[in-house]
Amino acid sequence: MPPRSPFKVAAVGLIALLASCDGEVFGGLSGGSTGPRADLIAPAPIRPINFAALVKPSPFALRAMSNREYLASVSDLIGVELPLSLIQPWTPTPQYSGFDAIGWANFDTKLVRDRLTTIEPILAAALTSTKVMTCIAASPSQLEYSVCAQSIVTRLAERAFRRPLAAAELALLKKAYDDGVALARGNFSTDNELLGEGVRAALSTVFLAPQFMVKAELAPAPGFVGDRDLTPYELASRLSFFLTNSVPDDELWAAAKDGSLSSPDVLARHAERLLTAHPDRFVENFVGQWFGFRELATATDPLEQAMFQESRLTLREILASDLPANTIVNPRFTYLNQRLATHYGVPGAFTTAFQRVASAERGGILAQASVLKLTSNSTAETSPIRRGRWVQERLLCKAIPLPPPELAALISASSMSIPATATVKERLQMHHNAGPACNGCHQYMDPIGLGLEGFDPLGKKRTVYPDGRRVETDSVMFGSPFAGFEGLNELLAGMPDVQRCAGEKLAVHALGRVIGNTGADRDLVSSLTTSESGDPMSFRQIVVRLVRSTAFRKISHLEATP
C-alpha cells in the first residue's frame, strides 16, 4: 500500500462532521421532525463567557498559501498591484465550504510548478518597483552584496518569511545573489544590470521558498510537545492573513518586532485597525468566500460586476456600521446602479454609480442576485435542491451529507420515473415519496429551495416559469408553514443559527481549519457569538473576541509520529 496523501487522513475528521441527516447534527434542527419548534426562533441561551476554560488551541498544521493569498502577499511586498489574471494558470486552491486552503488538501508537487509559471512577470514587476530597488550599483565595487543588494534582499525576505531570518537563510540569499551575478557576467554589460540579475536570483528563491509559501507555526524546539503561545510574529501573520489576506503591514510588523502584539489588547486594537483600514479586503475575502460572490469580482459582464458590487457594498456597510451579523439576512437596504435596478425592476433614476437604496425586498443575502446566480444550475435553470442545500451549509452551517453510494441506483431510477409534465413541486415531492433514504435529507433542502423559486437563475423576480406554469413558493420548514420568500426570510432571520454560523465561518477563516459542532469547537462558537446582553453581535465584535481567544493566540503541537 503506497503512503496515503494527507487528504485521506484529514477526511476522517470531515466524516465526523457530516453526520447523517437523521443523526446528531440535525437533532437540534429537526427535533421530532413534526410540529413547529419554539426554540428555533428563540434567542440562543446566554452562557457565561470564559475563553480560557472553554476554548482550546488549534493543532499545528502546515498550510500552503492559497493562490489569492500568494498574489496579494507578493503584491504588498513589492508594492505593485498584480492582476488576478496572473493566477489563472495555477491549479485552483482547494476549498472547504467556500473557503480557500484548509490545510490538508493544498500541498502537492504542483505547488512550486504553478508558482514558477508566473515568477518571471512577478520578478519583472519587482525589479522595476521603487519600493524594492532602493539602491543602485554604479560601479563594480557597489556590486558587492553588502553594499546595496543585501538591504534590498533581506528587507523583502524577512517581510516575506514574516520573521527574522536565520543565519543559514541569510547565507543562502547571499549565495543566490552572488551566483546570479556570476551567471549574468558576459550576458549583461552594466553594473546595475548585473545587480538586477543578482537581486532577481535572490528574490526568486524568496518567492519560491517554502518559508514564504507555507504558513507554519513551528515547534520552538525539535520534539516539543504541548500548547504554547504564538510568538508576536506568528500572531501578526495570523491576523493579517485573516483580515487582509496578505502578509503583515508596516504597523503590524512593528508591533511584532517590539513584542507588544503578545498583549491581547494590542492584538485586538490591530484587528480593529485593519478592519477599518482595509474593509474591502475583509469583505471580499471573508464574506466573499463565505457566500461565494468573490468569484464574480473579476467579471467583465456589467450585470455580473453589478451583482458583485451590490454584495460587496451591502456587506461593507453592515461591517462599517457595526450592525449585528445576522443583519445579512435582511438589512432593509441595498446598493444599486442603473444596470442592477433595471434588472430588478426597481423604478427610479440611477446612474452607473452605486447608490444606497432602502428596500425591504432586496439586500438580504438570499435576495442578492450574486448568490441567486451562483446557486443556480445555469443561467436558464434554478435548482431548489442546490439552493436549499446552500442555505443550510452556508447560512446555517448545517452540513448535509451527500447521498451514500448505495442510493445511486435508486436516484437514477427515481429521476427517470418523473414524468416530463411534472411541476417543480411535484418533482421535489418525489424525495418524500422515496421514503426516509431520500427524504431524510431533502426535507431540509427542498422547502427552502422552493421558497426561493420566486427568483429566476439571475435573481429576477418571477411568478411564472418560461413554460407558462405558475411558480409555487409556499412551503413548510421545520414544521412551520411559510408564505413565499418573505415568509421564509423572516423565519431564517429569527434563527440563532445565522449568528452562530457567522462565528463559525469567521473561525474557519481565521484558524484555517474545519470547525466542528461538538466539544471545544462548539464552545468556541458559543463564546464568540453569545453576548452578555443577549443582543446579537456584530462582525467586528466577533472578530475581536476571536483574536483574543485561546484558539487564536495559542497553538497545540501534538506528539510527532516517529
Binding site: P2, P3, S5, P6, F7, K8, A11, L14, L18, L62, P94, Q95, Y96, S97, G98, I102, A105, F107, D108, T109, K110, L111, V112, R113, L116, T117, E120, P121, A166, A168, E169, L172, K175, A176, D179, L183, A184, N187, E197, R200, A201, S204, T205, L208, A209, P210, Q211, A216, L218, N377, E381, R386, A399, L402, P404, P405, S412, A560, T561, P562
Partner: protein, 439 residues
C-alpha cells in the same frame, strides 16, 4: 537580442502539466531485468458504450458491426478482442468507470468529498504513467482529447469532481492530467516553436532558471530541518516538484531533432481532423522517442458536443435512445483508432507499442459495465492477437466478469516492469492471469 521576452517565457513554460518520476522515489515498480519487448503505450477511450450489448451480449461490437473497419484495413491479426471484462464502478458509471479505465482505482468517494468540489478529488496513477516512468523523455506523455465538460448541472453530481470525466490519465492519486484539445498546442509541445536552444541568450535564461531552483532547494533543506517528521512528506512533495521541473529544463536544453514533416495541426473544431492530426503527432513523437506514452480520449461522454453532422446530438443521448446514431459515433471512433494503428504500423512502431481501446460502459441503453468493449492492438508473439479471448465464463454475469486490472498486471512484464498488482480494492487486480498472453 532578437527574442521577445514573451516568446521565451512561453517556451520556458510549455508543457507544465508533466508528472512526477516515481522511479526517482523508489516504490514498488522497479524495472525488471531482462529485455522488454514493448516500449510504448497508447490508451484510447470512447464513452457511453456500444449498441445492443444488452445483458453482456456482443451486440454491435463485432467484425460485422463497429469493428468492421479493422477488418477492412487489414488489422484483424493485430487486434485482440476481449470478452468478459467489466467496467468496475461503485458509483455513477459515467465518471467512475471513466476515471477507472486506466487506473483501476476507486475515485474519491461521495462521503469523503468535502461539500465543495476540488477538495475531494482522488483517483490513482494510471497505466500510461508507469510507461512514461521508464525513461525521461523530452515530453513525458501526450494526451489528446475533444471538448471538456465545464461542470455538472445535476444536484447530486455537482459535488463530484468534473475532472473524473474530463481525464483518463492521472499522474498520481491527486493529479488528473488535462487533455490537449488544440492540435497546435500538441504540435508545439512535440516539435517546439522554432526557438533555438543554441542561442546563448536562451541558454542563459535556462541556466538562470536552473540556478534559481538550486537556490530554492537550499532554502527548502533549511526549512525542512525545522519541521516535525510527520510533516516532512509534505516537504518531499515540494522538493519532488522542483526536481521534476529541473529534469524538464535539462530535457529542453537538448536540441530537438524531430521534424514534423508533412504533419500539420488541424482545426480544433473539426472533430475528425483534429483527433487525426493529434494522432499523427503522437505517432511521430513516439517514433522520435520524444514520448513513450499517450492517451486519446475520443469524447468525454457527458457533454453535448456532437462529433459529426450525421449524429448532431450528444453521443450520450444516442446511447440512451438511438442505436443507429450511436453506431455512427462508434464507427467514426473505431475508424480513427484504425487509422492510428495503420500509422503505427507504417512507422514500424506497432511491434513495440501496445494500444488499447475501451469504454466506460458496455450497453449504451443499460449503462452497465458487463462485458465492456475492450480491444488490445500490437504486433509480435506475446499477446493472443487475432483472437477473441473470453476471460469470463459468463459475460452476462457481472460477478463473474474480470477486472481490467488483471490485464494491466499481465502487460507490465512486457514493458520490463516488475509489478505484481495494480489498482485498489474491488477495482484492483486479483492475482489471476488474464489469459490474454500466449502460453
Amino acid at each position: 537580442m532578437s527574442h521577445s521576452r514573451r516568446r521565451v517565457l512561453r517556451w520556458l513554460g510549455i508543457s507544465l502539466a508533466m508528472p512526477m518520476l516515481e522511479s526517482t522515489l523508489g516504490g514498488n515498480n522497479a524495472r525488471a531485468n531482462g529485455a522488454a519487448s514493448k516500449k510504448r503505450f497508447i490508451g484510447c477511450f470512447f464513452p457511453s458504450g456500444v449498441a445492443d450489448m444488452v445483458n453482456g451480449a456482443n451486440g454491435d461490437w463485432t467484425y460485422n458491426g463497429a469493428l468492421k473497419v479493422l477488418a477492412d484495413r487489414g488489422l484483424k491479426d493485430n487486434v485482440l478482442v476481449t470478452r468478459g471484462f467489466r467496467a468496475q464502478h461503485k458509483y455513477d458509471i459515467h465518471w467512475d468507470a471513466t476515471a477507472g479505465f486506466l487506473s483501476c482505482n476507486e475515485v474519491g468517494s461521495w462521503q469523503i468529498n468535502a461539500p465543495d468540489i476540488h477538495a475531494g478529488e482522488r483517483c490513482g496513477k494510471t497505466f500510461d504513467q508507469y510507461i512514461a516512468d521508464l525513461e525521461q523523455t523530452r515530453v513525458r506523455s501526450l494526451h489528446a482529447g475533444w471538448h471538456t465538460v465545464p461542470g455538472w448541472d445535476a444536484a447530486h453530481d455537482s459535488v463530484i469532481s468534473i475532472r473524473y470525466v474530463n481525464s483518463i490519465s492521472w499522474k498520481d492519486e491527486r493529479g488528473p492530467i488535462q487533455n490537449t484539445q488544440n492540435p497546435q498546442d500538441m504540435f508545439t509541445q512535440v516539435f517546439g516553436d522554432g526557438t533555438s536552444v543554441a542561442d546563448p541568450h536562451i541558454q542563459y535564461l535556462l541556466n538562470r532558471r536552473k540556478s534559481v531552483l538550486d537556490g530554492v532547494v537550499g532554502e527548502l533543506r533549511s526549512f525542512r530541518g525545522t519541521i516535525s517528521s510527520a510533516d516532512r512528506p509534505k516537504m518531499d512533495a515540494y522538493e519532488t516538484g522542483i526536481r521534476e521541473v529541473e529534469a524538464e529544463l535539462t530535457a529542453k536544453m537538448q536540441a530537438n531533432t524531430c521534424s514534423a514533416g508533412a504533419i500539420a495541426a488541424a482545426d480544433p473544431e473539426n472533430y475528425q481532423a483534429s483527433l487525426r492530426s493529434m494522432q499523427k503527432i503522437v505517432v511521430r513523437a513516439l517514433q522520435c522517442n520524444i514520448s513513450r506514452a499517450a492517451t486519446i480520449m475520443y469524447h468525454e461522454g457527458i457533454g453535448d458536443n456532437s462529433i459529426d453532422v450525421t449524429a448532431p446530438q450528444a453521443q450520450h443521448t444516442y446511447a440512451h435512445g438511438d442505436w443507429e446514431k450511436l453506431k455512427i459515433c462508434n464507427r467514426i471512433q473505431v475508424g480513427l483508432w484504425a487509422e492510428l494503428l495503420v500509422d503505427l504500423k507504417a512507422a514500424g512502431l506497432l511491434e513495440e507499442t501496445v494500444v488499447l481501446l475501451g469504454s466506460n460502459m458496455s450497453d449504451g441503453k443499460q449503462h452497465d459495465g458487463r462485458n465492456v468493449p475492450l480491444l488490445i492492438a500490437s504486433a509480435g508473439p506475446e499477446l493472443r492477437l487475432g483472437e477473441e479471448v473470453s476471460v469470463s465464463p459468463d459475460a452476462s454475469d457481472e460477478t463473474k466478469n474480470r477486472n481490467m486490472a488483471d490485464m494491466y498486471v499481465d502487460l507490465f512484464p512486457l514493458f520490463g516492469i516488475a509489478k505484481s498488482s495494480f489498482g485498489e480494492g474491488e477495482y484492483g487486480s486479483t492475482g489471476r492471469p488474464s489469459t490474454l498472453l500466449k502460453p
